[in-house]
């Protein structure tokens, strides 16, 4: 596969959309009038005949030299093959209980974005609201006090990068984004400026806070599943505790409903089966749920945090200093367990890609020589 060559919308459609690899990240949207996001789908509403397009170049599911990206964004010393760059690994939560009550886990993401806005590191934050019908909506926020209103995870993909593309054309100068791993990869590809004469004002992107992500769900299938379990109006939140719990939790006004993980698996967005990244490796800071010996009830109020860049480290330390984040000791072996889970996702992605191509060598958008995959490939 020729990784240097950039192609256009036609190839994007053939190789990503029609191949059902589209993550719905929104990176190809709001660059032009032809690529549009609707519900949790991204669609080409009119054909474009350009040979070289940003849509193709930015898409996280078109081939790219990941090593070059890592070289651009991270200190080589920090790189690990399992979870990408690690400058620091923490267990944290917001010190603000109100913030926590509105957050998915410990509210670390909320606290960090709020702080970044307050300190002027960014002037606009791109996040996702869950929306009344579990269809997330990309939102922008300029007010540090209001960040908490956009807390909690939406397990359906939100075309957040499209919102960045839109914002970057406007008056915002310093943009911070909360991103799933595919979105973080799209931002990283943009930062490479693959089409130098026409970038998308990517220099306005100042901060990427990544979310750990096992997979996202297809909106239609999720709605069917939820509707079968309870009144939609009664649902206050959803969560997927670490894999050993083997269940999705639906929090409702009448208590928690546990849905066996097999039922949830049937709702996974197809494209996620081909995703290699669990920890949002191309972010400044990545945040996920915590594992604690006290069990899930305690752990769900905390986050595990990987700091990857100098900027990330600065922000986390500022949060410590300004008493925005509370830190607790990282339990023994937590990073190892995270690495194992991450490797597991990589392995599954590679296996599924090989099943798709019926070839050991063709990994569609990935390169089998990449240090993150080399060992896994050898392993089978």
């Amino acid at each position: 596969m020729d990784e240097k060559k950039h192609l256009g919308q036609k190839e994007l459609n053939e190789r990503v959309k029609h191949a059902r690899l589209c993550t719905g990240c929104g990176a190809c949207v709001n660059l032009c009038p032809y690529q549009r996001a609707y519900e949790d789908k991204v669609l080409a509403i009119f054909p474009c005949d350009l040979d070289v397009g940003r849509c193709y170049a930015f898409c996280p599911r078109t081939p790219v030299d990941l090593e070059a990206l890592r070289g651009l964004l991270f200190d080589p010393q920090d790189l690990t093959p399992e979870v990408g760059a690690v400058k620091g690994f923490y267990v944290t939560r917001s010190r603000n209980t109100k913030e926590r009550s509105r957050a998915q886990h410990g509210g670390t993401v909320t606290a960090l974005m709020s702080l970044a806005l307050k300190e002027g590191i960014i002037d606009t934050a791109v996040m996702a609201d869950r929306g009344g019908t579990f269809l997330p909506e990309a939102v922008t926020e300029n007010d540090s006090r209001k960040v908490a209103m956009h807390g909690k995870s939406s397990f359906v993909v939100s075309p957040n990068v499209a919102e960045f593309n839109r914002l970057a054309k406007g008056s915002s100068e310093k943009i911070g984004a909360v991103a799933t791993p595919c979105q973080a990869l799209a931002y990283a590809k943009m930062r490479m400026k693959p089409i130098p004469e026409r970038d998308n004002n990517i220099d306005k992107l100042k901060l990427v806070v990544g979310l750990f992500c096992g997979w996202a769900l297809s909106w239609e299938r999720l709605m069917d599943l939820l509707a079968a379990k309870t009144e939609l109006a009664a649902i206050t939140g959803l969560d997927i505790p670490p894999s050993r719990y083997q269940a999705m939790h639906i929090y409702t006004t009448n208590g928690t409903i546990e849905v066996p993980i097999d039922e949830v698996n049937r709702c996974i967005r197809g494209a996620c089966h081909y995703c290699f990244d669990m920890t949002a490796e191309f972010s400044d800071i990545s945040v996920g749920s915590a594992r604690l010996s006290e069990g899930w009830e305690e752990a769900r109020g905390w986050n595990q945090v990987i700091v990857r860049t100098d900027l990330g480290l600065e922000l986390v330390e500022l949060a410590r200093k300004k008493r925005r984040l509370e830190f607790r000791e990282v339990p023994e072996g937590n990073l190892q367990r995270l690495k194992a889970a991450s490797l597991n996702k990589k392995g599954m992605a590679l296996k599924n890609l090989k099943l798709r191509t019926h070839s050991q060598d063709d990994l569609i958008y990935l390169n089998k020589e990449d240090p993150a995959f080399k060992n896994l490939i050898k392993g089978g």
Partner: protein, 645 residues
């Protein structure tokens, strides 16, 4: 001022065919005229409406052709003379009523004026309405020139009143829309009183109730057939059937209508006056049998020239077979033999070719060199693509429809209808329209599609119709859709007028054909009353329209979206720009990634063009209508709109 009301008997005027028809109707004492717009018939009602204040006339644009015939029949029942007008396919709409009207006959003279469009220059069909005359058993008259158009129209009203049956008067585009010299006749000073007599006995259609029903059909048909027999005897003497040529021609041409003009010209150009005889019939059903027999007997070869179908040819062949003993066996040329094209419009060149073939003449109608040049230039001249006018609200409506269906992503489609919006099938309408049939059938079909969910069909179905079409034939389909809970979205493209045929008012407007204020029927209220879920939007607000459509596509049941914006060509808007448009060259991204010519490659309004030299889009000041839609699709904000004070 129009000279249609001139009382200067004997004066010569240059009349368009439809004006000649109007003058003929006036000379024939018409009191009531109703029609439904349709090219090439529309000017007749328009002209009558224009002069309705200076003459005792009632003129209306009816909701559809069937109602137009009913309006005319009511006048006739009340003793007045009346006409109703329509284009060829309109007769199909009206035919149910007309069929029943032959059961009672009429009282005051009533003429159904049908203007046909052979070659379908502005139609979706090439229907030949002459067959109705035979099917319905009523007389059919066809003028062969402009003078005849006037004279024959007057006579048609008299004939109808005399025979007590309505008469079909048929014109064609080249007759209705061309102009010729007409000597005008007397304009009667009539002030007839309308009164409907019904006190007489049943089955006395002159004084009794006008009703037909089981048990009386055979009687009624016998009466009607008797009227036709009388028509034949009148037609034998008619001055509208004329013959020119030698006593025993080598070839006899039998023709009618505009084909008479073509044949005459062909004979003249080929200088065949002493070899070819030309029998022009004005009364084409029932045939003047004696007259036709006489001419058949005089020639061995017979060519029938007519358009679009072989109506006369068949009838003449039947007549010839019946009279074979008397007239001998003939060799017929025409559509059956392949000497005359079986579709499309005819012209003198075609007839010349036909004559050359039959008579073995060498003649090049057009010098070869010229023909070659003309042929070549056809390919050189930039062919104008069929598209919506600049500023047309339909362009914006179809863009939103396209986008909504594309985003909805379930292979949705649009059932089109008859009107400008038929262009929706082409790239100019973003190729959204996938079916297009007769008036009102867009929603009828869509309603049918919308019931196929039980067979696994989940493609969203949209029907579009114009405001005039809504009243014409869509309302019954909407009742069907609501009552049967079909999953369908009707989009009413409300441009406040019957735009395609020239802005005739319709029931949705607060004015009638005669220019008087009339209560307007609110489409939105009608749809709500029928029980549909209704929303409306301004199609120029592209974002909101798309959102509204997307929302409706998701909903179950029958929904209506009214997209309201006045037609760019309407008298209120014409020449008045809302915005002064301009393109900022420094901002236009043009062919680059990020735009790739959205305005000139996709939207394709004729008011904006691609400057290939400078590689930017530009506004064509002369063509641009100033609607501002291109500015709302431009991704870079290069297209600027400034409100015109």
């Amino acid at each position: 001022m129009s000279n249609l009301l001139d009382t200067n008997e004997g004066a010569h005027y240059l009349y368009m065919g439809n004006d000649a028809i109007v003058r003929g109707a006036l000379e024939g004492g018409v009191s009531v005229a109703a029609g439904y717009p349709g090219t090439p018939s529309s000017e007749i009602i328009e002209q009558l409406a224009r002069i309705s204040d200076r003459r005792s006339l009632y003129v209306e644009w009816a909701t559809n052709e069937k109602i137009a015939t009913e309006i005319a029949a009511a006048a006739s029942f009340a003793g007045l003379r009346s006409i109703c007008t329509m284009k060829q396919n309109g007769v199909h709409v009206a035919s149910d009523f007309l069929l029943h009207l032959t059961g009672t006959g009429v009282r005051g003279g009533m003429v159904v004026v049908v203007c046909e469009d052979p070659g379908a220059l502005s139609s979706q069909n090439e229907a030949d309405a002459r067959y109705f005359a035979k099917m319905l058993e009523v007389p059919l008259l066809e003028p062969g020139d402009f003078q005849e158009a006037k004279d024959m129209m007057k006579w048609a009203l008299e004939l109808s009143e005399e025979l007590k049956t309505f008469v079909i008067f048929r014109s064609v585009t080249r007759m209705s829309h061309a102009s010729g010299n007409v000597v005008i006749g007397e304009l009667p000073e009539n002030e007839p009183r309308a009164y409907f007599q019904y006190k007489g006995p049943l089955l006395d259609f002159l004084t009794g109730p006008m009703v037909t029903g089981p048990g009386v059909v055979a009687y009624a048909r016998t009466v009607q057939q008797g009227r036709l027999k009388r028509a034949v005897s009148l037609f034998e003497q008619s001055r509208f059937n004329i013959y020119a040529g030698p006593e025993r021609p080598e070839l006899l041409i039998i023709t009618s209508s505009a084909c008479y003009l073509y044949s005459k010209e062909a004979i003249h150009t080929l200088n065949l006056g002493d070899r070819v005889g030309l029998l022009k019939l004005g009364t084409t059903w029932p045939l003047p049998e004696g007259l036709v027999r006489k001419h058949l007997a005089a020639a061995q070869k017979v060519l029938v020239v007519e358009e679009p179908q072989d109506f006369m040819e068949e009838n003449i062949k039947i007549l010839a077979a019946d009279a074979a003993g008397e007239v001998g066996v003939k060799t017929f040329y025409g559509k059956k033999s392949g000497h005359v094209p079986t579709s499309g419009e005819l012209n003198p060149d075609i007839i010349m070719n036909t004559l050359k073939g039959i008579l073995g003449i060498q003649y090049e109608p057009v010098p070869q060199e010229y023909a070659t040049k003309a042929f070549q230039s056809m390919f050189k001249s930039p062919g104008r693509e069929l598209t919506f006018c600049p500023g047309c609200p339909h362009r914006a409506s179809f863009l939103s429809l396209h986008n909504a269906l594309a985003l909805d992503n379930r292979d949705g489609f649009v059932c089109g209808d008859v009107g400008c919006y038929g262009i929706g099938v082409l790239p100019a309408g973003f190729s959204t329209v996938k079916t297009n049939f007769s008036m009102g059938s867009g929603l009828g079909l869509a309603t049918g599609f919308g019931k196929l969910t039980k067979f696994g069909m989940n493609q969203p179905v949209v029907a579009v119709c114009g405001d005039s079409t809504f009243f014409h034939a869509v309302m019954p389909a909407l009742v069907d859709a609501v009552h049967h809970q079909s999953d369908v979205t009707l989009v009413v493209l409300d441009n406040s007028g019957t735009a395609m045929t020239g802005f005739q008012p319709h029931p949705g407007l607060a004015v009638d054909a005669m220019g008087e204020t009339a209560p307007s029927i609110d489409i939105e209220a009608v749809c709500r009353a029928i029980g549909a879920d209704v929303a409306s939007s301004d199609p120029f607000d592209v974002e909101r329209t798309e959102k509204t459509l997307l929302g409706m596509l998701k909903k179950k049941g029958a929904k209506v979206v009214i997209l309201r914006q006045i037609c760019a060509l309407s008298p209120e808007k014409r020449g008045k720009k809302k915005y002064q448009m301009s393109v900022r060259e420094d901002v236009c991204i043009g062919e680059n990634c990020g735009c790739n010519r959205m305005c000139t490659r996709i939207l394709r309004c004729p008011g904006i063009y691609w400057d290939t030299a400078r590689k930017v889009s530009r506004i064509d000041e002369v063509i641009c209508a100033g609607c501002g839609v291109c500015a709302s699709v431009c991704p870079s904000g290069a297209i600027q709109k400034a409100e015109v004070a």
